[in-house]
Amino acid sequence: MEPKELIARRVALELKAGMLVNLGIGLPSMVARFVPSGHGIFFQTENGFIGTGGRPPEGMEDPHLTDAGAGFVMAEPGAATIDSTMVFGLIRGGHMDLTVLGGLQVDEAGQLANWQVPGKMVPGMGGAMDLVTGAAAVIVAMQHSAKGEARVVRKCTLPLTSLRRVDLVVTDMAVLKPTEAGLVLRERAPGVSVEDIVAQTEARLIVEGDIPEMKLA
């Protein structure tokens, strides 16, 4: 299984009926593919819609109905258009039950950096700072390391997205739970050992008892 698919499948298990959920662009948006049909989840997109579906049939695309990356989407029955003040009212006001976002670094304090590599990549924070600050739960979905460099670090060296401690980190190697005491290793990816994880992690991990393998469905 592709690392991205593995991450998306694991994150999908955290989504429950009735939840209002925001998926970031890129990897996080893959999560929607792995929730069962008739899921009863409200998917919100940052550009102002609740109840987005997948890509429309050929020739049915509407240029007024897109995701946050301007890609065509469908509307589920019961979908609702909202303006941008309402999008962020839902986010800041704690109505957003869950957001899934990509990450560049997560550290032992559970803090996230995901919007800037100074001097190299300055795309802007978009809605990420509001989401990480305001959503009821924040899951970071990212590859465990990139180009040999650890992304789960002792202390973020890149600019922080928020002071808030995120709620869960799902990578292609592990599920980590940020706590007051530090990062707790909760699950291993199939076929990955605790030693492998520790070796590819700069942060100190709290490892207690047997660490089970991730479930993926």
Binding site: L20, F42, Q44, F49, I50, G51, A75, P77, G78, A79, A80, T81, I82, T85, F88, G89, L90, I91, R92, G93, G94, H95, G134
Partner: protein, 217 residues
């Protein structure tokens, strides 16, 4: 899909001493069946946040007459002499707030903002005891956010998943209070199948509505 509640069931969910945001403007767009059920169950010590106290004996006026109200935060009690009399007799505490400040404080509560900076009330009795903030040489009152245990919303139409739309001036406070109640109960005049309210016509998304009342008779 939601289970609907009868007004008596909704009234049972609301304990004595609760704070309630109630929609409507002089009763128009007010959740009349829910308020009558609260009167019928003998509710006590409620804090009510609403634009006005309605007409004597009707809607919020019925709650006032029944002795169910300990405190009101409102902009206008002029058309209900009973509220004025009980206020002067010390039986009900009334906090009078300019209407535009009131609705914006409720919005701040629901939208996760720290307060409202408004010029309204500067130099009047409304300023008493409040912080004045200067922004670029202009002075503003800092007015605090309002949230409540429950928001009681009246809608024209609801669909099966709780999307709401309002008719004409019965909209008023309703969409804003729906964001600021810990529990949101909507009283629709009619309930239509999911999809029957087009996405652009949804005024309050179902994702933030917790309970639906049975439709109006």
């Amino acid at each position: 899909m939601r289970k609907v509640l009868r007004p008596e069931e909704a009234a049972e969910m609301i304990p004595d001493g609760a704070s309630l945001l109630i929609g409507g403007f002089m009763g128009v767009g007010g959740p009349m069946r829910m308020m009558n059920a609260l009167v019928a169950r003998g509710a006590r010590d409620l804090t009510i946040i609403a634009n006005d106290s309605g007409h004597k004996g009707i809607g919020i006026g019925a709650l006032v007459a029944a002795g169910a109200v300990r405190k009101m935060i409102t902009s206008h009690i002029g058309l209900n002499p009973e509220t004025q009399a009980k206020m002067i007799a010390g039986e009900i505490e009334v906090e009078l707030v300019p209407q535009g400040t009131l609705i914006e404080r409720i919005r701040a509560g629901g939208f996760g903002l720290g307060g409202v900076l408004t010029p309204t009330g500067l130099g009047t009795e409304v300023e008493n005891g409040k912080q004045v903030i200067e922004v670029d040489g202009k002075r503003f009152l800092l007015e605090k956010p309002i949230k409540a245990d429950f928001a009681l919303v009246r809608a024209w139409r609801a669909d099966y998943i709780g999307n709401l739309s309002y008719a004409f001036t019965a909209r008023n406070f309703n969409p804003t209070i729906a964001m600021a109640g810990k529990v949101v109960i909507a009283e629709p005049e009619s309930i239509v199948p999911t999809g029957a309210i087009a996405p652009d016509d949804v005024h309050t998304p179902g994702a933030i509505v917790d309970h639906l009342l049975t439709r109006g008779a």
